[in-house]
């Protein structure tokens, strides 16, 4: 076995996240799918760090976590505010902006 399997797993997770973003209608679930994508990337980064023999990948994964945390806060705040306005977090209900 080689570390490539980790990368394949990562690619699979990333794709599942992508599909999730495209098919799910609930804003929070969509957002969770995006988080899954970020996690998949982290797995890749950690694996590449090992393949390349440097810790940069791990540092980057760490940065991704920090960024993701901040993103989660902002994202959930926005979703909360729109939920309060319309009492629904479905992406489909957010359709005023269609022409």
């Amino acid at each position: 076995m080689t570390p490539t399997y980790y990368l394949l797993l990562s690619a699979l997770l990333f794709s599942i996240g992508t599909v999730g973003v495209l098919v799910r209608r609930n804003a929070i679930v969509v957002f969770m799918c995006i988080e899954l994508m970020l996690n998949a990337v982290n797995l890749s980064l950690v694996t590449f760090a090992r393949v390349n023999g440097g810790l940069d990948g791990q540092v980057m994964a760490f940065f991704v976590m920090v960024v993701a945390a901040a993103e989660v806060v902002v994202g959930l705040a926005i979703i909360m505010s729109i939920f309060r306005a319309r009492r629904s977090s479905s992406v489909d209900d957010a359709n005023l902006l269609k022409y």
Partner: protein, 282 residues
């Protein structure tokens, strides 16, 4: 499989993947995958979040298996512990229609997304496999080893090589805090805060001196979703909660005499009703 053992296994071998790691991978990997799939397919958003937490936990363990113990713990503590809990928290707040509709908004969108996803998987897997299967990893033995281990080495990188992005993340965190307050903090008051005297006067001169009836009071159930009934058996509108969906007062007609009676006695009947908890249903 304890995480400590995994971390141990990880530090043992430098580059190539050993047997113990392979076993760990073939257990954790499918579980992570299952978590991901479960998240996408779960109809209920809370279930989705839990599935995602499963996937993240497994990923954390995989990090440890890959000589990244610090990241593994951060993943479990910060990501799974804090971020996912934040998700769950918001889901509970927003939870009213957290289950997804099955209706497709755009015709054929699911199919298209699935095809797209499978195509993307094939592309990525194919290219990665072609590009990397023959590669032997260098391993992190050197980088993680001397002099002070993984965490210190990461810290060293963070404050030298990645100093600027590290400082820049502070802007990110401030933005996040500011934004959360801005978007969700309810409106501040427009008038001066009224003192005790004013409150008392308002209460005494207002339409109602007594406190509002609680939901469920005088009624047959003590669920907050059940309205209070007035002595004549009609619903007391003041008792309706602003934030909770109220169950319509079911079948009040037969209850009216019974209830009036219940006020003075019939302990058995009342306790039965309360314990059954389904009284409100017709």
């Amino acid at each position: 499989m304890s995480t400590a053992a995994l971390a141990q296994a990880a530090t043992d071998n430098g580059g190539p993947v050993g047997l113990s790691e392979a076993i760990a991978f073939w257990i954790l990997g499918p579980m992570a995958l299952a978590g991901a799939l479960g998240m996408v397919f779960a109809r209920n958003a809370v279930h989705s979040a839990l599935w995602l937490a499963l996937a993240m936990l497994n990923l954390g363990a995989l990090y440890m298996a890959q000589q990244a113990p610090f990241l593994g713990f951060v993943q479990i503590i910060v990501y799974t512990g804090a971020v996912m809990m934040l998700f769950l928290f918001v889901l509970m707040l927003v939870g009213r229609d957290s289950s997804d509709s099955v209706v497709e908004a755009i015709k054929g969108q699911r199919l298209a997304a699935a095809v797209l996803g499978i195509g993307f998987v094939a592309l990525m897997v194919g290219s990665l496999a072609r590009a990397l299967f023959s590669v032997t990893p260098i391993g992190l033995g050197a980088a993680n080893g001397v002099p002070s281990g993984n965490v210190a080495a990461l810290g060293r990188l963070l404050f030298t090589q990645y100093l600027f992005p590290f400082e820049l993340t502070s802007a990110l965190l401030i933005t996040a805090a500011l934004g959360a307050m801005l978007m969700t903090f309810p409106h501040t008051r427009t008038t001066a805060k009224s003192g005790q005297r004013a409150t008392v006067e308002a209460r005494l001169r207002g339409a109602r001196v007594s406190p509002l009836p609680g939901p469920g009071v005088f009624a047959t159930a003590n669920s907050v979703a059940t309205p209070a009934l007035l002595p004549d058996g009609s619903v007391a509108p003041e008792s309706l909660s602003e934030i909770i969906e109220t169950v319509p007062p079911s079948a009040p007609a037969p209850l009216a005499p019974v209830d009036a009676h219940a006020l003075v006695g019939a302990d058995h009947a009342k306790s039965d009703r309360i314990s059954s908890g389904e009284e409100a249903q017709p």
